[in-house]
């Protein structure tokens, strides 16, 4: 047929003002929606089983509010923004500094979660199979911690390549996507914190 070469269907509507959104941004936003749905179910399970455990230990007996860890994680959202700003100004030095700080804060959070779990398991004898509280607690907090681990992996990766001399300033877009993920992990912690340590106690 005639239009094998698929000519421009209308040359007068020039492509001048056609600027669809960046695919990475749409992609990560969609990913975050899916992740939110995943967390929502774990949160729902936690709330559903509040006070339904048949045997102890119960939340109010064993949980202590993780103040330091929370401060670390939440402030890492701020430091990653600072890192991004430095990147926009093409300042590799400050970028590395802020990024290192972010990575360190994430690592501290993870270590403190580990210590909390250590205490719960060793001292309070609360494991995932002790009761419904144990299952839902380790399920929800563990799901979040696993997201922190993934985040930490990518944070470290960026840190390594930037110190190995990779021109990190070319990766502004990808860094932005990573920081969206990181903000999401932080925001989830706000929810987890509220549900587990405020409402749940």
């Amino acid at each position: 047929m005639a239009y094998t070469a698929s000519p421009p269907l209308d040359a007068t509507t020039a492509a001048t003002e056609w600027k669809p959104p960046d695919r990475g941004t749409v992609g990560i936003a969609s990913f975050i929606v899916a992740e939110t749905a995943l967390f929502a179910i774990f949160v729902a399970a936690y709330l559903f089983y509040l006070g339904k455990s048949l045997n102890g230990p119960y939340p109010r007996d064993v949980l202590t509010v993780p103040v330091t860890a929370t401060i670390c994680l939440l402030s890492s959202s701020g430091t990653i923004v600072m890192a991004e700003r430095a990147l926009q100004r093409h300042q590799t030095g400050p970028f590395r500094l802020w990024w290192m700080l972010t990575t360190a804060l994430a690592a501290i959070f993870l270590v403190m979660t580990g210590m909390e779990w250590w205490k719960l398991i060793r001292h309070d004898h609360l494991t995932v199979s002790t009761n419904c509280f144990g299952s839902t607690y380790y399920g929800l907090v563990g799901l979040h911690a696993s997201h922190v681990i993934v985040g930490l992996f990518f944070l470290t990766l960026v840190l390594l390549v930037s110190f190995r001399g990779f021109p990190i300033t070319t990766q502004e877009r990808r860094i932005k996507l990573l920081s969206w993920y990181w903000h999401f992990v932080d925001a989830v912690w706000v929810v987890v914190f509220t549900v587990v340590y405020v409402i749940g106690r």
């Binding site: 269907l9 056609w18 969609s30 899916a34 749905a37 399970a45």
Partner: protein
């Protein structure tokens, strides 16, 4: 701007037509068209497997007191059949159509993330194979090698260690978890493609309805599949590290599993029907020679269904004994969702009304779709009325209802799509004559199988029974249902014969055999790897109409 995306990197040294070269090209491809075809081929393969399981079940049920199949094997058959058809036929067929068509329809050269796309396919296939490996590796109470037998919704606490020994249930939960990952990946990809890769002038308002529906569909996948994954993670924790989520003996809740499963499960059935809606919305206008009636209404209704579908799940749980307030809410939302669905049906009929109808094979499938989907919708509304549901819950009425949506709606819609787009994908037409045989045999067989099931339900026959005693008036209906399967099988044989013959010697299709209006028909059949030589620019929702009728283009009226 739609950017030139990554292309298939085939080493130049690969000989053009050697078998290994060809295999290599298919296995390593990141081209959306090849991946789309891979999805469709995998889905057809699993369709044959799931169909074989269905045939075995119908053979067993044809006469009362039959001993062809043991009760334990029957349990595995319906579990594997339901799981296969939903997750390994429905989801990949949907992903295949979306992958193949969305970029072509919006004038893009590939999906937004071609490699993620390939990842999605292979992960899905691995999940499917993992599920089927259970036939070999799934140890169960009675010796080794057994498939899951807990039903496609795997109700707790049946799935807990106490009742489901061995590993077969783990194959169910991990196989579907893994293949669900692929579905989410491809949904993310479709959304990013639709938003970011449209050609100049392709505003959301001008986008083909199929693309719109796949966009809403992907949205539903994003919010519906992760809950299933979450529940499956919990179930796996229960089974392997002794968690208590659904362990009723330790304070866990069986009800919670049902909520979680159906929070996924009900949107899922809309997820499955949407590609059929989309296909029908493309095919009916072309074969009626009229633009679709009430374009905005079709799209708005789809968005409405997308929203309401997230709040109807507990209509699968009326018989559980939820509070009457809960039942009332979910009955109301279920009846509510019938409204946008009904709007669509009126749109399709109004499109045909006064049109110059051409009853080619794709159109035949669409007509049957219309009739059967309305029947399915009506029985659905009946089941949505909670007191009626109490009577017929878990009966063959339900089996008849959902097969009318899934086979009569989804499968018929997809066959319309296959006959319609096969020429585009392969460059060759499917045979008319064989297509008509396929249609009539499949249609008659389908109705013969599933219409009687409604009666069986009224006569009190429960679902998931492996045999029944004579003398309850069920015999004749069961026999009819089983005979219908034979018709369907012969119809499908015509289909496969048709496909193979056309691939080898079918008449050449040309670029635009149906005189259609959407962008995929503006390029060659099959399209080149880069889809479009120059990125098209569009000014209306029927760009090819504009091209063919320069004196009377659509955009003059819009």
């Amino acid at each position: 701007m739609a950017s030139v995306s990554h292309h298939l990197d085939v080493p130049e040294s690969q000989p053009e037509s050697s078998l290994s070269g060809n295999m290599y090209r298919w296995v390593s491809t990141v081209d959306h068209k090849r991946l789309g075809l891979l999805y469709a081929m995998a889905a057809l393969l699993f369709f044959v497997i799931g169909g074989t399981q269905a045939t075995l079940m119908r053979m067993q049920l044809a006469v009362p007191n039959n001993h062809l199949i043991s009760p334990a094997m029957y349990n595995r058959l319906f579990t594997m059949h339901g799981t296969t058809m939903v997750f390994l036929v429905g989801m990949p067929l949907l992903a295949g159509f979306a992958n193949y068509l969305v970029p072509l329809m919006i004038g893009a050269r590939d999906m937004a993330f071609p490699r993620l796309n390939a990842f999605g396919f292979w992960v899905f296939l691995f999940g499917g194979l993992l599920l089927y490996y259970s036939y070999i590796g799934g140890g169960a109470l009675y010796g080794s090698g057994s498939a899951p037998d807990v039903g496609w919704f795997a109700n707790a606490p049946l799935t807990e260690n106490a009742f489901s020994r061995g590993t077969s249930t783990d194959y169910w939960s991990l196989g579907i978890l893994v293949s669900g990952l692929g579905s989410v990946a491809s949904a993310i990809n479709v959304i990013a493609t639709v938003f970011s890769m449209r050609c100049p002038g392709m505003t959301l308002a001008r986008m083909p309805i199929f693309v719109w529906l796949m966009l809403v569909d992907s949205w539903m996948i994003l919010i519906a599949l992760p809950p299933l994954s979450a529940a499956q993670i919990m179930l796996t924790l229960d089974r392997h590290v002794g968690a208590r989520f659904f362990d009723t003996q330790a304070g866990g809740s069986a009800l919670l599993w049902q909520h979680f499963f159906w929070i996924f499960g009900h949107p899922e059935v809309y997820i499955l029907i949407f590609p059929a809606f989309g296909t029908v919305s493309e095919v009916i206008p072309v074969f009626s020679r009229k633009p679709i009636f009430g374009r905005q209404a079709v799209v708005a209704a789809a968005v409405a269904i997308g929203f309401i579908s997230t709040s109807v799940w507990a209509h699968h749980m009326f018989a559980v004994g939820l509070s009457s307030v809960t039942n009332t809410f979910f009955a109301a939302s279920t009846l509510l969702i019938a409204i946008p669905t009904g709007i669509k049906v009126f749109n399709w009929i109004a499109t045909m009304y006064g049109g110059k109808l051409r009853f080619e094979v794709p159109m035949l499938f669409c007509c049957a779709f219309l009739f059967q989907f309305v029947v399915a919708g009506l029985t659905g509304v009946m089941l949505g009325v909670a007191p009626f549901n109490f009577q017929l819950h878990d009966s063959y009425f339900v089996v008849g209802h959902f097969h009318f949506t899934l086979v009569g709606g989804f499968i018929f819609g997809m066959f319309a799509g296959i006959y319609y787009w096969f020429p585009k994908a392969t460059g060759r037409m499917l045979g008319q004559q064989a297509g008509r045989w396929h249609f009539w045999l499949f249609c008659i067989g389908f109705n013969l199988t599933f219409l009687p099931m409604h009666v069986m339900g009224f006569l009190g026959m429960p679902r998931r029974i492996y045999t029944y005693a004579p003398g309850r008036g069920w015999e004749v209906w069961n026999m009819m249902a089983s005979i219908g399967v034979a018709f369907q099988i012969v119809g499908l044989l015509f289909f496969f014969y048709n496909v193979i013959r056309s691939l080898r010697s079918g008449p050449l299709a040309g670029d635009d055999p149906w005189d259609a209006w959407t962008l995929e028909w503006s390029t060659t059949s099959p399209p080149p790897e880069y889809n479009f030589e120059t990125i098209p620019v569009v000014r209306s929702s029927r760009p090819l109409w504009d091209l063919k009728h320069p004196n009377d283009p659509d955009w003059r009226y819009g």
